[in-house]
């Protein structure tokens, strides 16, 4: 495999965003643009198929070398077969979807986007030779299928189906992950080609059996085998092209694929045969039986698919290693051809009549002969009639089962025969009741003929079914060309072999059974409740929150104050434990009190302690919020000065500014509380016990922290952590301020997450502050003038506007000197934000926003993106992310840490403004977003969060319910 093969195979990932972007412009024609990716994938597979030299070679890109994970792709026969299947089906299904998803459907861009991602994930799954990559791609198919099933996400059925499919396949997929981890332990590598080439060491047979059990879980889940078969019929809420692609031809075949992949690894385990045969063939029987009991065409197809998947997985249970990759691939190809064809036919029927109910359909052959003919071919293959590929496939299966001795052979032959009878019966029933008989009058009205384009893809598939059926030798040769197996000669007629006799028996039984049911009525057939396995799934899913609730009730966590008892109890308990364990040290400590020599520094620190204590006590004593707020600020500013005494100028600067910004935010809320009188809301008096408990908890908590301060530095574990940073700050990071170089360079990753957290908090606040307009009727009429009180104080105005420029020059200074002296992007950002807020005070929010054309949130997002970009930029040069680069921009030395700091600066300015300004509006009863400031975001229009619509909300919810 060469790089260009891989590039072509991965083209769906590249074209997906393109398709998404085109979606808005092209609408229902987006599908034409989406044809390119499967075409390229098909070209790649065809090129590999025609080039025998490329077979088995590997193309590898290192990904996580320390874990042995590489993006390795190997084109062996199995991968190539599934690759051709995925790409070829992808092409046909995309073509089908362009006609199927007409203008009645919306969001074409995102549909094809997800479809392409799915296709790419499938191709990676089948071609990769690294087990972990296989797992990642395997789960990616599950995740994309979630979005495809739930495409019409306003329908409860689609929500339910998507959720069920995701939960089932992803949970069972974890079994596969565990199996992969075990295989890595056993073979010491994740490389599939090496695992397949080396026999397992005999001492690890037990571990291998466990790995097989876990992998089987993944296979059963993904291929919807018993007991996980319930998700596939529910996934039929997907648009039909998705069903045809994911749920018949590709994704559900992954379990079959994995069985084939891991056959050489697990094949000689004694459990392999019984497990696969038991689960596979019981699924085959159950699926066929359930298909007979359904009325919805798609459900019928879903259950027959479940049945066939059981068969395909089950036959690996008795496959002989030397016959591998001939018969199995032939069955997969046969099933994919006719089942996708039938799904497309059902889609056409649904499209033209608006129903998929067997009772409401009939006589369609006359009205759409082409589709009818295609359907007949598909159904004939499903029934296994001669001259179709289905017949060839079934003959081989019967032949193998007849020659298989022992219990397994008996069981599989019996279920094979019985299941085939049921399949033939289902095919007869569908054909008879959809295409023949009398057309219901209701249908006559709603019917419209399908376009030719819609019928073309199933026509292709039906042609394939017929071609392989009429030319079995070619069919066998094609399927055999992928594997090492010797290909037996296949012919239309092998004479009166036992298999042919069994086949004849199957047709005869099915015919009689059909005749009987036609006369005795289908009405007696219905799905018994016990067969609805999804009930168990629902019970489990609903059970989780119900269990949580019961658990909570049992613990008595209904009252929030009980949490406190727990927290305080643990806190106090650990304090006591600590005191007891370290009693000696504490006693020594207390004995040595008062020892240090007095110095100016210490004296100043004690002074600050006194100031902060006064602030704290006042905050506890005072009742009125504004004085209390100032008492807290006194403590906060005291802490800032304490940082100065602790030789932490950066902290002091930051603390000062953050304290100011917080003060401002809280002040805004206090203003609102005061206006409503909520600050002095009467409270019932506390009991004596509660007062005592409060004091006790507070004292214990305080002592806990204080004790920590005394003891932590004396612990033997504690040593100077920053020696390295201090020594290498100048030589490595070219900055004198070690704190700043740690923040923007050495530990830049933390900072990146930190500003992301800041942004998220900002977005969260916006969510709390805004409420979408409920309805046009309840629209909030907001006057287009400044509603906030704008102070007309000349001195304030002059100071605020006059200070703006010097303040920002100072911010610039702080920003640039940050690397060498206290300061940096965060401090500078706060200064700028506060200066802007000061201006907004005198201009009024609206006046301010009219002058400031930039949206703060955009600035914040740009900042985070800039930091992210700077962080990942070195990766382009093959360096680890966040490596710093220094270069000259004209005469100025520029380093990536400075650009990174710029990102921090922008994020801080944006978020702080976006926190304060909407809150300022909101506390005055205005919407957080209004028209003139977000002209581009009309959907973001909101109303004030305390705005009450004309109708009471209680009545509204009742109406909806």
């Amino acid at each position: 495999m060469k790089a260009f093969h891989v590039a072509l195979l991965l083209s769906p990932f590249l074209s997906a965003p393109l398709v998404l972007a085109l979606g808005r412009r092209l609408g229902s024609r987006t599908g034409w643009a989406a044809l390119a990716a499967p075409l390229l994938g098909l070209v790649s597979c065809a090129a590999l198929y025609l080039d025998p030299q490329a077979r088995g070679t590997t193309f590898s890109l290192s990904w996580v070398p320390s874990l042995g994970v590489a993006l390795a792709f190997t084109a062996d026969g199995l991968a190539l077969f599934y690759g051709l299947l995925v790409a070829g089906m992808g092409l046909l299904v995309t073509l089908y979807a362009t006609h199927y998803l007409d203008d009645r459907y919306g969001r074409h861009g995102s549909f094809y986007f997800t479809l392409q991602l799915f296709m790419g994930a499938m191709l990676v799954t089948v071609f990769t030779s690294n087990l972990l990559v296989l797992f990642v791609a395997w789960e990616l198919t599950g995740i994309t299928s979630f979005f495809l099933i739930g495409f019409q996400h306003d329908q409860p059925k689609a929500q339910r189906g998507a959720r069920m499919a995701l939960v089932t396949t992803v949970t069972t997929g974890l079994g596969l992950l565990a199996a992969i981890a075990l295989l890595q332990q056993i073979f010491g590598t994740l490389d599939l080609t090496r695992i397949l080439a080396t026999p397992a060491p005999p001492e690890s047979r037990g571990l291998l059996s466990v790995a097989f059990g876990l992998a089987a879980l993944g296979i059963l889940g993904k291929s919807a085998l018993v007991p996980f078969h319930y998700w596939l019929p529910n996934a039929m809420a997907a648009p039909t092209p998705v069903s045809a692609y994911l749920h018949s031809a590709t994704m559900v075949k992954l379990g079959v694929f994995l069985s084939a992949r891991l056959f050489p690894v697990f094949g000689d385990l004694p459990t392999w045969g019984p497990v696969l045969v038991a689960f596979g063939f019981s699924t085959f029987l159950l699926g066929a039986l359930l298909a007979l009991l359904c009325y919805d065409l798609k459900a019928i197809l879903a259950y027959t698919t479940v049945a066939q998947l059981g068969l395909l997985v089950g036959q690996y249970g008795w496959a002989a290693p030397e016959a591998l990759h001939f018969g199995d691939l032939l069955h997969v190809l046969n099933h994919s051809l006719y089942k996708a064809c039938l799904f497309m036919v059902v889609g056409i029927v649904d499209h033209c009549t608006g129903t998929r109910d067997l009772h409401q359909l009939g006589g369609l052959f006359r009205r759409m002969p082409l589709t009818g003919a295609v359907a007949m071919v598909g159904l004939a293959a499903m029934a296994g009639l001669p001259l179709t590929s289905g017949f060839v496939s079934k003959e081989i299966l019967l032949e193998t089962a007849l020659h298989r001795p022992g219990m397994l052979g008996m069981f599989s032959l019996a279920s094979l025969t019985l299941g085939s009878v049921l399949h033939a019966l289902v095919a007869l029933r569908v054909g008879r009741h959809v295409f023949f008989g009398k057309m219901p009058a209701q249908l006559e009205e709603s019917f419209h003929a399908p376009s030719f384009g819609l019928q073309l893809p199933p026509l292709f598939l039906a042609a394939g079914v017929l071609l392989f059926g009429l030319w079995p030798a070619g069919f066998g040769a094609f399927a055999g060309s992928f594997g090492p197996a010797t290909v037996p000669h296949l012919a239309l007629w092998h004479g009166w072999t036992p298999a042919a006799l069994v086949s004849l028996g199957i047709f005869a039984t099915a015919g009689i059974a059909f005749w009987l049911t036609e006369h005795r009525g289908w009405a007696r057939l219905f799905m018994p409740r016990a067969a609805r396995m999804e009930r168990i799934f629902d019970w489990a899913i609903d059970g989780i929150p119900a269990f949580g609730l019961r658990f909570n009730r049992a613990l008595g966590f209904g009252r929030s104050s009980l949490y406190l008892v727990f927290v305080a109890g643990i806190l106090f308990g650990s304090l006591m434990l600590f005191v007891i364990v370290r009693a000696g040290e504490i006693a020594a400590l207390l004995g040595a009190l008062g020892a240090p020599a007095p110095s100016m520094d210490r004296l100043l620190r004690w002074g600050v302690v006194a100031i902060v204590s006064v602030g704290t006590f006042l905050a506890m004593r005072w009742e009125r919020p504004i004085p209390q707020l100032f008492a807290v600020s006194l403590a906060g500013f005291g802490v800032a000065y304490y940082y100065v005494l602790y030789r932490a100028p950066d902290l002091a600067l930051t603390q000062l500014l953050v304290e100011t910004a917080t003060l401002l935010l809280v002040l805004l809320v206090v203003v609102r509380f005061k206006r409503d009188g909520a600050d002095l809301e009467p409270l019932p008096p506390r009991s004596r016990r509660s007062r005592l408990a409060r004091v006790a908890i507070a004292t214990a908590g305080g002592l806990f922290f204080g004790m920590g301060v005394l003891l932590f530095p004396s612990l033997p574990l504690m040593e100077r952590a920053g020696g390295y940073y201090l020594e290498s700050s100048i030589p490595l990071a070219r900055g004198a301020n070690a704190v700043n170089t740690i923040v923007v360079d050495f530990r830049g990753f933390d900072t990146m997450l930190e500003i992301t957290a800041l942004l998220i908090a900002g977005l969260g606040c916006l969510g709390l502050l805004s409420r979408k307009r409920l309805s046009p009727v309840a629209r909030f009429e907001f006057p287009h003038r400044d509603l906030l009180p704008v102070p007309r104080d000349f001195i304030l105005q002059s100071v605020a506007l006059g200070a703006f420029v010097p303040l920002n020059l100072f911010a610039l200074h702080i920003f640039f000197r940050g690397h060498d002296a206290p300061g940096g992007g965060f401090v500078a950002g706060l200064i700028t934000a506060l200066s802007l807020i000061l201006v907004s005070f005198v201009l009024g929010v609206y006046g301010f926003r009219r002058r400031l054309r930039v949206m703060p949130m955009v600035v914040a997002v740009l900042g985070v993106l800039l930091a992210l970009g700077v962080a990942s930029f070195p990766a382009l040069q093959g360096l680890p992310p966040l490596s710093h680069r220094h270069f000259h921009l004209g005469p100025f030395p520029v380093g990536t840490p400075m650009l990174f700091d710029l990102g921090v600066y922008l994020a801080v300015v944006g978020v702080t403004l976006k926190l304060v300004l909407p809150l300022m509006k909101s506390v005055h009863g205005l919407p957080a977003f209004v028209q003139d400031e977000v002209a581009n975001f009309t959907s973001a229009l909101s109303e004030p969060i305390d705005y009450r619509p004309a109708r009471p909300p209680a009545a509204r919810t009742k109406e909806v319910a």
Partner: protein
């Protein structure tokens, strides 16, 4: 270690006062308590750098011995903590404000009554 007795006292007072305020039934006092608590927590981390008496700030110049500077790592940690503390404080402020607007009360006893029911838990079913 006793050289940091002042820090220990400061943290005890701040944390104790903060917890006392957090235990209040009024939203505003809870909020103020939270602000003080994050200050106290930062000071605990700061104290891990050891007694700063006689040491230099971690800003280096030519000819300065790095060993004479205080440990910069706790400072860098606190710098991040202050920012995160600010975000959380802002979120808490707005959250309490929103609760007030929706429920019309700024105290917990009345809020628990409004949240209704015997134990304030909803029936827990995902809708």
């Amino acid at each position: 270690m006793t050289a940091q007795l002042d820090t220990a006292l400061l943290v005890t007072v701040l944390a104790g006062g903060a917890i006392y305020l957090c235990l209040s039934r009024r939203f505003l006092r809870k909020l103020l308590g939270f602000l003080m608590l994050s200050n106290a927590a930062n000071l605990v981390v700061l104290a891990m750098a050891g007694d700063p008496t006689g040491a230099r700030a971690p800003t280096l110049h030519e000819g300065v011995d790095p060993a004479t500077a205080v440990d910069p790592v706790p400072q860098a940690l606190i710098l991040t903590a202050i920012v995160i503390g600010f975000s959380v404080a802002a979120y808490l402020t707005v959250l309490l404000y929103r609760i007030y607007v929706d429920s019309g009360t700024a105290t917990t006893p009345r809020l628990e009554r409004i949240a209704g029911g015997s134990d304030g838990l909803d029936d827990g079913v995902i809708r």
